[in-house]
Symmetry: C2
Subunit: 159 residues, 2 copies
């Protein structure tokens, strides 16, 4: 299996959309917001990385510098197509995001995720990557659905 | 003293800019981002309220619905001109923001502020308004400058 991480390109739009819809983690509104951010990213507002196997796009990540900070970045989305989950592509993408952030002068990565039981897999993914929960906004998304704020300090020796 | 809270208007731009620059709390970059958000707000992306005394603009607030949530809102900026501080205008503005958010279907307000010692006055303002610290991102803004995440649940009986 030839795996490659590269910058996302305008031609990837359709496959990104398919991955978002079929990965099962996102509501219609979340897919719409994610696609809006892909457009904004292609226009230069966010950074976008794609992962492909044997030339086929399998997932992507969207991240960007946090305004008004010296060196904090947000990781907004990581999405892997359901047919390509379990292969370690998400981990590879997350590590390459961290490399890119470091290269651009960032030294910490912040993300927000849901406290719902069905997000446990995502939370474990981030915990194992070294993210630490630094906040919890009660019922942020909707009743019973907290927002967890997680942070990872990117030491120079990582990656 | 005739005090009035009203929607911010395009003609208020210059006085908003003056209030931001002279209130002393904001860096050049913060003023620029705040003004960008005023422009976006005037274009409909955020909500903006102004407070005036005897017809003169004295401060403003910028707030908006949190994407991907049912009823959470962010309070992005409250700024009172230094010559008008200590008169309770900030409190009045914050309460009117809460009224507006409730009217638009919101039931909680989230804000981020600095953990720096010179922000203690701002933090006290929010604590006294009923905001509770729900997170702290270490060194988010810069070394030694944490981000505090604060939340207030807007009960129907408030205001």
């Amino acid at each position: 299996m030839g795996v490659r991480v590269r910058d996302l390109a305008p031609d990837d739009r359709a496959l990104v959309r398919e991955a978002l819809i079929h990965c099962g983690a996102f509501t219609d509104e979340e897919v719409r917001v994610a696609l809006d951010m892909v457009e904004a990213g292609l226009a230069g507002d966010y950074s976008l990385l794609a992962v492909e196997t044997d030339g086929d796009l399998r997932g992507y990540a969207c991240f960007g510098r946090a305004h008004l900070t010296v060196s904090s970045w947000y990781l907004y989305w990581i999405c892997i197509h359901p047919q390509a989950q379990g292969l370690g592509l998400g981990r590879m993408l997350q590590e390459r995001v961290e490399d890119r952030v470091r290269k651009l002068g960032g030294d910490r990565l912040i993300l927000e995720t849901s406290g719902r039981p069905d997000y446990e897999r995502a939370r474990r993914f981030y915990r194992e990557a070294g993210f630490v929960e630094v906040g919890r906004i009660p019922e942020f998304y909707r009743p019973g659905d907290d927002c967890l704020v997680c942070c990872k300090v990117l030491s120079a020796g990582d990656g």
